[in-house]
């Protein structure tokens, strides 16, 4: 198996607080991995570290692109990491609210298109063609997340579940090899969660995608993921298949508290 993402000894300090403590994590090709743990365990901080929003105190992070080359992510800017092939969604939906649904996805194509100011002003044939290509590809992505009929609607007018799906479509537009989902099922009803699960599975097949997700919905985590990492107070306390994790005494303790104190 080839690792898409390899993180070793990742440490993130905020002042005196150690938010991440020697986190090791590997994700293989086409693997769905879940990151779970109580609130404040450092899951979102981990996302922010590997996407370049925070600069980690120490540790190494490697992303392997489909061509086989491994890239060190340390010191890279967020947009460079996205261009390499790692895309994310946000815990508290961060769409571009005043723009249309289609435009939201088109933004995701930014790093795979080239037109600059001069081309924008001259509008030569190549630029127009590139633009139409962006529009059509974005529309096709909207079809895969079942939002095509709303393409000309303003993003903020979409219902909650649809906004989450739009965020996924927007992330997919950057053509990632690794997709990071931060609580994608939060606030969804069981029906929507089920559809989301199907969507993630089908995206993996059609796009050769590896997925890392943070999620609190345990039934979804257990049925969807190939492997699970558990974090507590910034440290990884366990990892393994869903079966192993559900039987792990450390994990049960972390979630239910010490039996003596309960």
């Amino acid at each position: 198996m080839e690792a898409v993402l390899e993180v070793k000894d990742l440490i993130q300090d905020f002042g005196g607080l150690r938010a991440l403590n020697e986190v090791d994590l590997t994700i293989n090709k086409k693997e769905i991995v879940a990151l779970i743990g109580p609130n404040g365990a450092g899951k979102t901080t981990f996302f922010n570290c590997i996407t370049g929003i925070y600069t980690p105190t120490s540790g190494t992070m490697f992303l392997r692109t489909p061509d086989g080359a491994a890239h060190a992510l340390n010191g890279m800017k967020t947009h460079q990491i996205t261009a390499l092939g790692m895309a994310r969604t946000f815990q508290n939906i961060r769409l571009f609210p005043e723009m249309t649904v289609l435009e939201n996805v088109m933004i995701g194509r930014h790093c795979h298109t080239k037109a600059g100011i001069l081309q924008a002003l001259l509008r030569d044939r190549a630029t127009v063609a590139e633009e139409q290509d962006t529009v059509d590809r974005s529309y096709a992505l909207l079809e895969t997340v079942h939002l095509a009929e709303y393409w000309d609607e303003t993003a903020k007018n979409l219902p909650y579940g649809a906004q989450r799906r739009l965020e996924i479509a927007r992330a997919m537009a950057t053509e990632p090899c690794l997709l990071l989902l931060d609580e994608p099922a939060a606030g969804m009803n069981p029906q929507e969660t089920l559809e989301l699960k199907r969507l993630i599975l089908s995206l993996r097949e059609t796009h050769d995608l590896a997925v890392l997700l943070i999620e609190h919905d345990m039934s979804m985590v257990m049925s969807l993921s190939d492997r699970i990492y558990v974090m507590q107070y910034g440290s990884p306390i366990a990892s393994g298949t869903p079966e192993e994790i559900s039987k792990n005494p450390e994990v049960i303790k972390a979630y239910l508290g010490e039996s003596g104190n309960a």
Partner: protein
């Protein structure tokens, strides 16, 4: 009844509030007079304004639209408005262009005085559209835009004074100089949040103005630069009427170019990136947008436009001094953008025309101009923060849908 009581209280409150400043007048001989009439007028005005205010907010609280019925939760997906109707667009555009081209020859409004007013209106349209790039599209609140306008004007003025360079040579030079200044300001402020950016750019504007005043040996201080020539047409001598008309057409052309450039920019890949940055910086960075590059592009383009407008301004007035480039100019340009609707090209153009032409043609209001600007900014933010023109959306052609339609 309760509303009337509230309105009465508000009226009384404002009358007391304004009593010293509006009521008291100290005369030079050491006596004082009290102007009751003014306060009475004010009280009456506030009474009715307060009724309106209450009516509006009560309605808003019930979730109703200002006019007619309840607001719908979701708007229909495909809205047909007049603004999106293609043939209506074409006809009105043709009418406006025809009027603008014929304007210097329409008897009654073709005096030099009138044409000059229209030239300055056109220059402000350019400025407002340029500011719209950075404020409206990119969402970066810049309060020192007049500084770039000044730099453009002084580039022409000083290059003429010291080296005798003409209009057409100075136009591109001013563009380059202002772009460099825009980058010089833009680079350090990349990381600043909205309100801090506003203050820094305001400070930059003041620094430029103060330097222009104090650097006497070069800029000639507060007295300014005079005798700046108007652009020549292949070296033909022109009388005042003709050179004004010529400048008018040039400004009109400049505005047309500006509108074309900015429309194309807005609809391009870079334009989309700018708007994404306005909506959410972190999300747009996570979508692969290089914020540094995009922000600097916006700064550079925006300041270049102010530079071009500055050169036109210097050519129009043939005399420039620092007092033309105060904070109030920046504030006025900002209110044009805000009034028109941030990001909307049609809106900002209308906003600029209204704010320049209204005080000129409604002489009674000329004194109250700045007062009304200020009030307009507050009122717009409260009642219509999106500006006059909204819903200006680009129409995309989707190949998949068109095939289905065939």
């Amino acid at each position: 009844m309760q509303r009337i009581f509230k309105a009465l209280v508000a009226a009384l409150w404002f009358m007391v509030l304004c009593a010293p400043i509006m009521g008291l007048l100290l005369l030079p001989d050491g006596t004082a007079s009290f102007r009751w009439q003014r306060l009475a007028v004010l009280g009456t005005g506030i009474f009715f304004a307060s009724l309106l205010w209450q009516w509006y907010f009560e309605k808003k609280e019930r979730g109703e639209r200002l006019f007619g019925g309840k607001a719908q939760a979701e708007e229909p997906v495909h809205r047909e408005s007049l603004l999106r109707n293609k043939s209506f667009q074409r006809i009105s555009l043709a009418c406006v262009c025809a009027f603008m081209i014929a304007m210097p020859f329409i008897p009654g409004i073709n005096s030099i005085y009138q044409i000059t007013i229209w030239i300055s209106a056109l220059i402000y349209v350019m400025l407002a559209l340029g500011l719209n790039i950075i404020v409206g599209l990119a969402g970066q609140l810049v309060l020192g835009y007049a500084a770039f306008y000044a730099i453009g004007a002084y580039t022409y003025g000083l290059l003429y004074q010291f080296f005798g360079l003409g209009f057409w040579v100075c136009l591109p030079i001013a563009g380059i100089v202002t772009v460099l200044c825009g980058l010089a300001l833009g680079f350090p402020v990349l990381r600043l949040r909205g309100d801090y950016l506003a203050i820094v750019t305001l400070g930059f504007g003041e620094i430029v103005r103060l330097v222009l005043i104090n650097w006497d040996s070069v800029t000639n201080g507060a007295r300014g630069v005079s005798g700046i020539p108007r652009p020549a047409l292949f070296g033909c001598p022109m009388n005042m009427q003709w050179s004004t008309t010529y400048l008018y057409y040039m400004s009109f052309l400049a505005v047309v170019v500006t509108i074309v450039v900015i429309t194309r920019l807005k609809n391009s890949r870079v334009g989309l990136a700018l708007q994404a940055m306005r909506e959410d910086e972190i999300a747009s960075e996570a979508m692969g947008i290089n914020l540094t590059q995009v922000k600097l592009t916006a700064f550079a383009l925006s300041s270049a436009w102010a530079g071009f407008a500055g050169v036109l301004f210097a050519a129009k007035t043939s005399f420039i001094n620092p007092s033309s480039f105060t904070f109030w100019e920046s504030a006025m340009m900002l209110s044009m953008v805000v009034l028109g609707g941030m990001g909307s090209i049609l809106g900002v153009t209308l906003g600029a025309l209204i704010l320049v032409l209204a005080p000129e043609y409604l002489r009674a209001f000329a004194d109250y101009r700045m007062l009304l600007f200020g009030a307009t900014m507050v009122v717009m933010m409260i009642f219509r923060p999106q500006g006059l023109v909204t819903g200006e959306r680009r129409h995309y052609r989707i190949s998949a849908l068109e095939r289905k339609g065939d």
